[in-house]
Every structure is written in structure tokens, then in C-alpha cells.
Symmetry: C2
Subunit: 342 residues, 2 copies
């Protein structure tokens, strides 16, 4: 496996917040602290009223002295362009011996000062949207260990959150489990992963195989889904990820009340029956035991009194647990998986 | 559309044959001459017993004088590495004003002498495996004009040949039609296209949309399929291409007697019923009129007396024409499409 690898980040992180004041643009930084507090040494804010992630403020040199491995950009830059002040911070971090990690579109190595500083210090500039080299094509070979993939009726419908919460619920129940990240935010949170939607089209399934290698028989990988089989732009990613992941089970993610593909209003979302049936049919090409093991619903659009009725109706209709992971957690899902998969 | 484009090659071609003696390694050169003789000015052979494509022998300077637009590598190099003699020819061609075109993995611009010669002469080095920049994500917007996509039960099962033959049969019947190439050989033959399996995973459907833009209402694009929905490595490409192509009809390509995925012997090929049903179901996400309009079978593995019975059984079972394009041509397919789609 020396030439084929996932992205792997060096922790702990110093998180760059810049002067971002809106939590919604600081999702990456907030996500790291929420899910992997142990991977964080501090935050670097360039303004006193910037978003506070709830971790110690420190500069690059204090972080380096404290053993930090990477400076991680934790916010989306205003207007998409990285401000000059950030480049200066990144250059200082590289010089102090930290890797610099970004999930943004702008390539870090495109900045000459930063590239030179990184080379001089022997640190890495890591764009987590850049796939590792030498990916193989999919083999279809059955791997050891168990796998769950989160899938969705649409994009941006809770697949990452559900996978993170489910992996944590497995561990809380004493079951060996690893969250497998497939998008830039998930990769930065987990510290490793595969930017599946950035790999070459021929390598989607192969990249999914690399992401989730052979494991112990009683270990569960929980793989973050991408796109949707029903998405007019991203269905190819979803099918390649489904076939390469070889999931024993999938959790279907949905948002109560969402009726059309977000940003593609001419495309209606599928009925959940249809979505479950199509995922099972396609998934069985590489794992003939694949089945739906739960439905994760974002219920934030429902009135409080409607929520439980909505979920109970799903449970009765589909015969699997239905929960809002943000409200209910994933305990019921874990119990069902353990009972139904032996 | 200035920034978003398909690959477009400059004809006529001088085809580099090198000293390849096996026709099977000269498929690209033979394919160009078979399908687009009008795009060829001559062949350049480095040995008197090299494969003869049946076009005039000439050197780079004669080709340039004769108006050649590109030197095209028409053979797979021995052992995968491009011989020094070829680099010298390519450099001379660039200096003489020809673009240099390759469908191989080795990047042309990685050769410094060739890169300098091309820059000095103002010609292009075109690796047809490199997608054009600035591809959009799929919009799902319904485009004008009609489309047929060739799909398959497997890879390497006749999708390119069938698409080329079908587009030609349309034209022979007086129907406006364009072959739309999605792989390196098809792109070199057609002189334009989109290397769909090399685009980023998120852009498969978008690239397919760019490949087959709005057209006249009575014009048929015949789009070369890639991979297979049933392929453990390449299904993602196939689904993205299917959704982005928005085909009105698809032709299912199969090889009589092939039972497992070529190179993936643990995976059985689907039954044709299953393949037709799954393609129709998935294709209708972006074109609710999508249907199977024919079955193209490579019958070379059948005894002469079995061929017609085999095809007739398919016709009766599936209610569409079934033919071996190499033997029967695509006339029956064209008639069925014209009768059934109005």
C-alpha cells in the first residue's frame, strides 16, 4: 500500500478562523471542535469579534511550541478569495513547522511565498480536494469487515452528519467503528479520507475501495455518502461510491418537507420507497446482502407536534428505524444494525 | 460558450504508424481510415513492413505541404513507452506547423524538446485523455434535438463501433446525425469529443451535456457509451453519462456468449431484460421518454447457423431490432427509431 493511500492529516490542529463573524461560514472549524475536540490545540482569530470555536486562542508560534501538527483553514473566505492576511499566517505557520491544510478551491501551492516557505521548512501544503495519486480502478473484490454507507434523496441532506453521529453511536455502544470521510469537511474533521467527487471518473469505485480497506470482521466502517442517485449532476459519484463501498447496510438521509432537488427545482425528489428500492437493487451488484438499515431525517422543518408522528409513520412503512440524528441520536440505528446483521 | 468546449482536432491528419506490424495495435489508425477517410492525408511508417493503413505514405514535410493539420499517433506503442524515434517525428511535425495528437497515457508536453518545438511553432500538443477546462456541473435542462446513447452489458462490447455505424446509417437514410465521441479512439476518429472517463467525478453529467448541446429538432446525436451500469469499477461513469446525455433512446450492446465481466470474472453479466429495465428506469430521471430502441450484438462467437436464430429470439423477446452492426449494419435500427419516435 505504499503508493496508494488516503489523505492523512497531522494533528493536533491550530484552526484559522480569520475575522469571520458568521458561524454559518465557520462550519468546518465548528465541526472539527464538535466531533474531534481531541484533535484541536487552539484557534487563531484575526479579530476579537470573530467566531469563537470555544478553544484556546493562540498564535502560530504558541501552537508550534504546543506540538501542533497542522494549521487548518476552518472558515470559508469572504467572497471566495483568500485574504492577504491569511496567506501571511499560513506562511508563518509553514515556517514554524506546521503543515497547512485547506478544503477551499484555491490551490495553496499556487501562492509562491507559501510554497517556498513550505519547501524550506519541509512541511506539506495539503489541499484536501486533491485526490491522492495512483488510485486503482475498482476490483469488486469482497473485503473483510462490515460497512454502512449514508445515502440521500438529495445533496446537503445530512449524509456527513449522520455518518459522524452513527460512527460515534457505534463506539458508544462498544462496537468498533470508523467514520470514513469522502468530502473536504469530513476529511478535515476526521484527519483522513478520500475526496471522492474530485477523483477521475474512472476511479470512483476504486477510490472508495481504498478508503475503506479490509478490516476486522466485527469492525464497522461508516462511510460518508456523496450526491444522490437521483441527482441530475452528481448521480455518477453516488453510484461509483455505492459499488466501491460494498455496504452491508445503507442509511437513507432525507429532509422532511423538501420536495425538489436543492438548486435543481425542476427535479422532484424520489419517494422514499423508490429510493430504498433503487439503492438496494444497485448496491447488490457488489454486496448481495445490502439493505436499508435506517432512515435519517432532518425534521427541522416540522412543527414539534408533527415530528414523532412523521418518524413513526416511516418506521411502520419501511420496517427500519427512523430518527433525526441531531435530535434523537443514532442509538436506535445501532441497535437495529446489531440485531439484524448478526 | 467561449470558455466551455469539447476537444476539437485540426484535420486532415498524418497518421503515425511507427514500425508497428500488428493490426491489433493499430486500431486507432485503422479506425480513422475506416470511418473518416476524408480526414486523412497520409500515413507515416518508420519501417517498410509496418501496418499499411491503405493511404499514401508521406513524411512530415510532404504532409505539411499538403495541408495537414495534425500528426496523430495511430498505434499503441510497444510496451507502453513512446520510442525515441517517435519523439523525433513529433518534434519535426510540430516544427513543420502540425498539431500533435495522442490518445496515450504519456503526456506529450512532458517531453521538453517537443514542448519547446510546439511553443516555437505555435501549434498545439493535444492529449485527448485530458478534458477541456471549465466544465460545468450538469444542469439537467432539457436540450433540443434527439439523442441515442449506446450502452452495454460490459466494457469493450461494441459501444463505439455501434455508435459510429448507427450515425452513418442515419446519414445514409437522409437523417441529420452526429457521432459524439466519449473515449480517446472515438475522439481521434471524429476529430472532436469529450474524454468522459477522465473528467472529475462531479462533472460527468455536465461534460455529457457539453458534448451533446442543443441541436435542430430533427437532428440525432449518437453518443458513444462508456463502461456499464453493471461494471464494478466503471458504473459511475455510465450513470453520469446516461443522465447527462438525456437519451431518447438507447441501444444495448452485448456479445453473444460473454457471461462474465471482462477482466472481472467474479461478476456475471446481467440478463438483457434486466439491463434494459435498469437503463430505462435510470434514464427516465432526465428524459421520461427514454426507451430501448435496439440491441447490438457481437455475434462473432456464434456458429454461422446460430446467428440469425439468436437475433430473432432477441427481437421477439424484447420487441426491438437486434442486429450485429458489423454484419448487418444499422439500417433496421434506423427504421425502428424513425417509426417509433415520430
Amino acid at each position: 500500500m505504499s503508493l496508494i493511500s488516503r489523505i492523512e492529516l497531522r494533528s493536533p490542529y491550530l484552526i484559522l478562523v480569520g475575522d469571520e463573524k458568521q458561524p454559518t461560514f465557520a462550519k468546518t472549524g465548528l465541526g472539527i471542535v464538535q466531533w474531534r475536540r481531541d484533535r484541536v490545540v487552539g484557534q487563531l482569530r484575526l479579530s476579537p469579534d470573530a467566531v469563537d470555536l470555544g478553544v484556546p486562542d493562540m498564535d502560530v508560534h504558541a501552537a508550534a511550541s504546543g506540538g501542533a501538527g497542522s494549521l487548518v483553514i476552518g472558515v470559508a473566505p469572504p467572497g471566495g478569495a483568500i485574504p492577504d492576511a491569511w496567506w501571511a499566517v499560513m506562511q508563518a505557520a509553514a515556517t514554524a513547522g506546521l503543515d497547512v491544510v485547506s478544503g477551499l478551491h484555491t490551490r495553496l501551492a499556487g501562492n509562491e511565498g507559501l510554497a517556498l516557505a513550505a519547501e524550506a521548512a519541509g512541511v506539506r501544503l495539503i489541499d484536501v480536494r486533491t485526490p491522492p495519486p495512483n488510485l486503482p480502478v475498482g476490483s469488486g473484490r469482497k473485503r473483510s469487515g462490515r460497512r454502512i454507507l449514508t445515502v440521500g434523496t438529495d445533496c446537503a441532506i445530512g449524509k456527513k452528519y449522520t455518518a459522524l453521529a452513527l460512527a460515534e453511536a457505534f463506539r458508544a455502544a462498544g462496537v468498533k467503528s470508523t467514520f470514513r470521510a469522502t468530502g473536504q469537511t469530513g476529511i478535515i474533521i476526521a484527519g483522513e479520507g478520500m475526496p471522492i467527487d474530485c477523483v477521475g471518473a474512472d476511479f470512483i469505485a476504486g477510490a472508495a475501495e481504498v478508503l475503506s480497506p479490509d478490516n476486522e470482521p466485527d469492525h464497522w466502517d461508516v462511510i460518508e455518502g456523496q450526491g444522490s442517485l437521483f441527482h441530475p449532476a452528481y448521480s455518477g459519484v453516488s453510484l461509483g461510491l455505492l459499488h466501491g463501498s460494498q455496504p452491508d447496510g445503507f442509511v437513507l438521509c432525507h429532509e422532511a418537507g423538501r420536495e425538489t432537488v436543492s438548486g435543481w427545482p425542476d427535479f422532484r425528489l424520489p419517494e422514499l420507497d423508490e429510493a430504498i428500492a433503487l439503492h438496494e437493487r444497485l448496491a447488490r451488484r457488489t454486496n448481495d446482502a445490502a439493505r436499508c438499515v435506517g432512515i435519517a431525517v432532518n425534521t427541522s422543518g416540522l412543527a414539534p407536534g408533527e415530528r414523532e408522528d412523521y418518524l413513526e409513520a416511516l418506521r411502520r412503512r419501511h420496517g427500519v428505524p427512523a430518527a433525526d440524528p441531531l435530535v434523537d441520536g443514532c442509538g436506535a440505528l445501532v441497535r437495529f444494525v446489531r440485531e439484524s446483521t448478526g
